[in-house]
């Protein structure tokens, strides 16, 4: 349970976040100094906004937390999330901005005009990916509040749901730019502070000491599995970090240490599948793609991505040291959580616990408040992505093509409220379940549906509507089948090994299906105009 100072920081940050959400748009119109949103710094603003938008609680708590319990192998998450933006920059960002549509399905049907099957299947993919992504965020947020603020889980979910819906409905749609900028700075700054304070307090301001220590430790999650049922296991709360590490290392001599590769993803197929799923999945997440429809000029899509790469890259570099530092400092706590059957807490709590030890109540407040704001805005972004596609690609296309703008906006808001309510319901229903596979599925589908279909549409003239549809369907089906197989615990499926991420099979399958079917069919859509628009000189200026 958090102290009053911590709570003050948490609520202060949420208040600032909501306040900025409400006032930012007004400020961007009525500020009397022109440099505020002037052209000169717009790329920086854009990139901070994109960074704030992208850094979710999963990045803030999850990546460092996972490194703290599994070691260096979990640096893959950060590498993949980072690399996804390089793929975006090189292959998709500018073309998507130049096509300048509302949603990813919209961009596709700009080439394959009035193709309802493509629009619908893409719309369903957006909804599925975003839903699978939003549920773990909500479950994680509930658990976080339950643990740190002491609220009842159901209560916490309802409060988060209500806040998100207010945030969306009230603060314009997505608490525009300024909020994301502030959030990007808070999360980056908090991680920086945690790193500096951890290094100075526990490691003599020597990053090398963190590495040296990491080599002496067995990752807690691994150790807990190996020590399960061992009667000689002590009461972890009575041990210091050094004693706990020494005990485990003595008991489990020869076990991989925190810097050994392969602890999480073993064998080349698993590693490559994971790496591919992360890097191409990030490039295919609908709510990430949507952001590119919002930047002012096509050129900004590129310069902003550069900024994002710097911010996000340095952020994930910090998480590696913070994660490994947390492993040592919190070793007895983490062992205690794992052996007490609280695995998900162990992973999500590493960053907040470390920040409390390194920086007291204030830093803990910033960490929790920052994480909470990240959850709010990520969930809001996901709900808006769902709401926009449902309204634009389904309601406006199928149910009521004559809908006025006013009607469209109200339907969008309604569907955001509805999907928000459903997300709360799912989160309550799935409490205490391990829902992280949903994220894997989200990334797997994103990597195998949107990345290939957008890539081929933007770059390949011979791509046909039938080919695009095949890409979407094959990508979706193959990734879903392999995730389900993994969930059911199958080691292989008709002789094909089941991996930790489906992308190694589903991405090539989707590409291949698209290419083969395209070569056999000939409806290339409005390829010439579409591609000239995507790659040609900027027609807006």
């Amino acid at each position: 349970m958090a102290s009053a100072i911590t709570l003050a920081f948490v609520f202060g940050l949420i208040g600032v976040s909501l306040g900025v959400a409400i006032y930012s748009r007004r400020y961007s119109r009525t500020a009397s100094e022109f440099y505020v949103a002037g052209r000169k710094i717009s790329w920086l603003q854009n990139s901070l906004a994109l960074t704030g938008d992208y850094l979710s609680a999963a990045s803030f708590l999850g990546v460092a937390g996972a490194i703290a319990v599994l070691g260096i192998d979990k640096a893959w998450d950060g590498l993949g999330y980072f690399g996804g933006y390089i793929i975006l920059l090189l292959l998709l960002a500018v073309p998507l901005r130049k096509i300048g549509k509302y949603t990813a399905p919209d961009a596709l049907t700009t080439r394959f005009k009035d193709n309802r099957a493509i629009r619908m299947s893409a719309m369903v993919s957006v909804v599925i990916i975003s839903t699978f992504y939003v549920i773990p965020q909500m479950v994680g947020a509930g658990a976080l509040l339950q643990l740190l603020v002491g609220w009842d889980y159901v209560m916490a979910e309802i409060i988060i749901g209500a806040l998100v819906i207010t945030y969306v409905a009230v603060g314009g749609m997505r608490a525009t730019t300024y909020n994301q900028i502030i959030q990007g700075m808070i999360l980056w700054g908090a991680m920086f502070l945690i790193l500096i304070l951890t290094a100075t307090t526990f490691f003599n301001t020597d990053l090398g000491a963190i590495m040296a220590q990491a080599k002496e430790m067995i990752p807690p999650q691994l150790a807990a599995e190996l020590l399960a049922g061992d009667p000689s296991v002590p009461d972890w709360s009575t041990l210091t970090a050094g004693e706990a590490v020494a005990f485990v290392s003595m008991k489990l001599a020869g076990t991989p240490d925190a810097l050994t590769p392969g602890v999480f993803a073993s064998g080349w197929m698993n590693v490559i599948a994971l790496a591919a799923g992360l890097v191409f999945g990030t490039a295919g997440l609908p709510h990430v793609l949507t952001r590119y429809f919002t930047v002012e000029k096509p050129k900004d899509a590129r310069t902003s991505t550069m900024g994002v790469l710097i911010m996000v890259g340095t952020f994930y570099i910090m998480t590696i040291f913070v994660g490994l530092g947390a492993m040592y400092v919190l070793y007895p706590d983490l062992m205690g959580y794992f052996m007490g059957g609280q695995a998900s807490i162990a992973q999500n709590m590493a960053v907040p616990l470390l920040s409390e030890l390194a920086g007291g109540d204030v830093l803990l407040g910033i960490a929790i408040g920052g994480a909470f704001c990240a959850i709010l805005s990520t969930v809001a972004g996901l709900l808006i992505t769902i709401g926009t596609t449902v309204t634009h690609d389904f309601y406006k296309q199928v149910i009521n093509p004559d809908a006025s703008d006013l009607r469209e906006v109200s339907v969008a808001k309604l569907s955001i409220v509805a999907s928000g309510t459903m997300a709360v319901a799912f989160a309550i229903g799935l409490a205490d379940q391990n829902v992280s596979y949903l994220v894997t599925l989200a990334f797997g589908i994103a990597a195998s549906v949107f990345f290939p279909v957008l890539f081929l549409s933007v770059w390949w003239k011979r791509y046909t509507s039938q080919g695009a549809l095949s890409t979407i369907v094959v990508g979706m089906v193959v990734s879903a089948v392999f995730v389900v197989a993994r969930l059911m615990g199958y080691a292989d499926l008709i002789g094909i090994p089941v991996l930790i991420n489906p992308a190694l099979y589903s991405l090539p399958a989707a590409m291949l299906a698209g290419i083969v079917v395209s070569l056999l069919t000939d409806d290339i859509g409005d390829a010439e105009n579409f591609m000239v628009r995507a790659h040609g000189p900027n027609w807006e200026e």
Binding site: I22, R25, R26, Y27, S28, R29, T30, A31, S32, F34, V36, A37, G38, A49, I72, A75, W76, L79, G83, I86, L89, L90, L91, V94, Y102, G172, M173, T176, G208, M211, A212, K215, L259, T260, P261, G262, S266, W268, V271, I272, L274, A275, E296, G313, T314, Y316, I317, I320, I384, L406, V409, A527, E528, N529, M531, V532, R533, P537, N538, W539
Partner: protein, 258 residues
Amino acid sequence: MNENADQRQRDHIILLATDGSLPALAATKKAVQMAIESGSRLVAVTVNESSIMTALERKGEEVAESRLKGPLSLGTEVARAYGETKGVMVETMMLPAGPLVARILQFSEELDPDLIIMGNSGRSGWERIQLGSVAEGVMKHARYPVLIAKGFHLEEMKDIMNVAKGVARPTPISVVVEAPKVTLDSLGIGRRLSVAVVAMMLFLVPYFGLGLVSAFYPGTMVSDMFGSFQVNVIWILVIFPLGWITALVYNRIAETYD
């Protein structure tokens, strides 16, 4: 124009800030009338308003504004056309994107007008909280007299409304139809894709290479390289800057596409 009129024009400048909304049209009417009466030079400006918004946000804002929007025309063009009907030459200008108030103030400093005229939307409630009032902002900070046109009779607005209807606001779609004069072949998509893929390899080879070498040569990966930093840790830490270099190099190349 006779010499006498020129003399007076130098003496007197009216700055009209207009966004083509109904209140702005009322202000336009007033500005033209005053320009005639005082023989002033009339300069009409509009700010190219843009900010990072999702499509839904933009649409939401358009809906909120539609109540005030006249026939959706470009304010400066209406001022020019309306001025013509009254025999007044209206100079027009589109100010670059930025905060509306700041752009208007900044331009007023350059122009040094005798009077700024603008409309007041009369927003209230939630919209007012969210969008604020540009007229109020200009009034508060301007170093010149400001005249706010507030309230109007639709009956009296008929003439300018008719002019406005004739000046349709250009939609992006109509620009699209005209613009692509280039052909796909001239863009060299294949070459561009090769460049992008080659640049991508600069990142992807070490990225997937980390996985493959870790899987096949774990022993190499865990040997120390610099102090207590192992090969795999260094490799991971190097991938990030490699990504930055990839992005920078590609960015330089892609600049030529703009």
